[in-house]
Amino acid sequence: MTAPSLAAARPRASLVRRLVRRVGGWEALVGIVIVAVLVTLAVLAPLVAPHDPEAIDSARILGRPDLGHPFGSDALGRDVLTRVLFAYRVSLSVALGSVALAFAVGAPIGLVAGFRGGWVDGLLMRPIDLLLALPALLLAVALIAIVGPGALVALVAIAVIYLPIIARLVRSAVLVVKAQPYVDGARAHGASEPSIMLRHVLPNSLGPALVQATVLTGFAIQIEAALSFLGLGAQPPTASLGIMLNEGRDVLTLAPWVEIFPGLALAITVLGFNLVGDGLRRRLDPRGMAR
């Protein structure tokens, strides 16, 4: 009786193993699951959240965690789990938005700078390099000082931090790709320079930047939280992880759950993106230093 079930189990095991190898290891698979679950929860927050994120309940001020409120309640009696789920929407939107913006601006700059070289390269990259001459968080704070606080400003500020990273990565990949024989081949075939740049060089130069973008998304969530923790990001009453962590400090010894759960949620999110990023890096560079 056992033989057939074993035989049936074996191909499934190898399927899982193949999947693990495909995504770059067990850790990466765990990361993918974490990110997928969190994104789903964020998108479906209004449907899956057990309570109203803004609902104040005077009977449940600093209420302990229980079945109805697994993460407890905050100083206004609001459900912490619900607020974490809604805060994810803000965190993920800001993080994905900032990385997308940095990519949309940085990738073309890196592409043109690397492909054209010479004075074009200098003209495009020198100002970008200047952005690297400031500590990242200081740059974000300086930009917010100019425009004023807010979630959208935080998004743009994080994008400005990431812009030089993306542009540099794309540029160095372009330098390698444009020296490949198939690029000469396309040129010999009579392809125009813009067509070579867009059809042959660009698609083959995005890999490293895309991998980095995964890791950067995780850190963007962290930076957004740090900025709103300082009062420079999203403003109350918006549920944001940074604001929740700042408010939780006031009741730290009375009701540690108000502080612990949003922080854990934040750490797990960043962990998920880091694991996926490390896995992708291993896939691109199997001998690499991405351990």
Binding site: L137, L138, V270
Partner: protein, 319 residues
């Protein structure tokens, strides 16, 4: 001129345009504020007369190039301007705040090196389980946001066991013991992530050095593993480690903004955040300028250390 000296001079000269560009950025900050920065600072109840007075005091009523040259000239004489709220000279204010930030970041980097370097070497030379444990530490320490870690440390060491003060500051000069008691939690908070980066870089650099042919040769010569690891491999792995220490110093300066606010340390970071919230632009400008200049200086030092560690880099730059 020896190649090393040439490298030094060239690297010093390269710093000047970077500093100038930085000064332009910081100068333009207040001018880029949408609408009228003076009205934003003073609030909407300010009279036109008040606005005009402050605008003249900040020199905002003069042509832009004039403003910049005057500002830069004052800067070169060590005059950072005036706090717009307290009227105190900013050079004095910054010179009081900067030592706190420096102490915090230098101690944090020292702790990160003390933890990260040996663990990185261990991870590269010991078995699989050491590697796995350190990998776990790296990914956890990088993922946990520093300010939350700080709050958890406060909950544990100040809230539960009452071993350390939750926040505040005592000057180093006068009472070094009390100063250290106040610095322990902020330093640990700031150091955890850095330790992870240093560990990861050390392991990577050691891995690739230990795999190179000259190590095989030293083994064949009969040198002990200890001697190979510490005298030969670590020295050759130093350049990437120094790079990361240099880059991460900037991350520490950024992290200090959050950690100082969290632990109520009177450093430059907290000064900047308070000033941003009060829209006290002259203070923001001075703070950003000082931290940026510090970071540029650290980058310069890092490059100079390269020249010492690996003379080929200095000489290679000559061609």
């Amino acid at each position: 001129m020896s190649p090393r000296f040439g490298y030094l001079v060239r690297r010093l000269l390269l710093t000047i345009p970077v500093l100038l560009a930085m000064s332009v950025f910081v100068f333009l900050m207040i001018r880029l504020v949408p609408g009228d920065p003076v009205r934003t600072m003073l609030g909407f109840r300010a009279t036109d007369e008040n606005v005009a007075t402050i605008r003249a005091a900040l020199g905002l009523d003069r042509p832009l190039a004039d403003q910049y040259l005057a500002w830069l000239g004052a800067l070169l004489h060590g005059d950072l301007g005036q706090d717009f709220v307290s009227k105190a000279p900013l050079t004095t204010l910054l010179s009081q705040r900067l030592p706190v930030t420096l102490e915090l970041t230098i101690l944090a980097m020292a702790v990160a090196l003390i933890v990260g370097l040996p663990l990185g070497v261990l991870a590269a030379t010991r078995g699989r389980w050491t590697g796995r444990l350190t990998s776990g530490f790296v990914v956890a320490a990088i993922s946990v946001p520093d300010f939350w870690l700080g709050i958890m440390l406060v909950l544990l060491f100040a809230g539960t066991f009452h071993l350390l003060p939750p926040s505040g500051y005592k000057p180093l000069v006068g009472d070094p013991v009390a100063n250290l008691r106040y610095m322990i939690l902020p330093v640990l908070t700031l150091a955890s992530g850095e330790a992870a980066y240093i560990l990861r870089t050390t392991r990577g650099a050691m891995d690739s050095t230990l795999g190179s042919p000259f190590i095989l040769f030293l083994r064949a010569k009969g040198l002990s593993e200890r001697e190979i690891t510490f005298r030969h491999a670590l020295r050759n792995a130093a350049v990437p480690i120094v790079t990361v220490v240099g880059i991460q110093f900037g991350v520490l300066l950024g992290g200090a903004i959050v950690v100082e606010s969290l632990f109520a340390l009177p450093g430059v970071g907290r000064l900047i955040v308070t000033a941003v919230n009060q829209r006290n632009y002259p203070v923001v400008q001075a703070g950003v300028l000082v931290v940026a200049a510090l970071f540029i200086l650290v980058n310069l030092l890092t490059d100079l250390v390269y020249g010492v560690l690996d003379p080929r880099l200095a000489e290679g730059g000559e061609t």
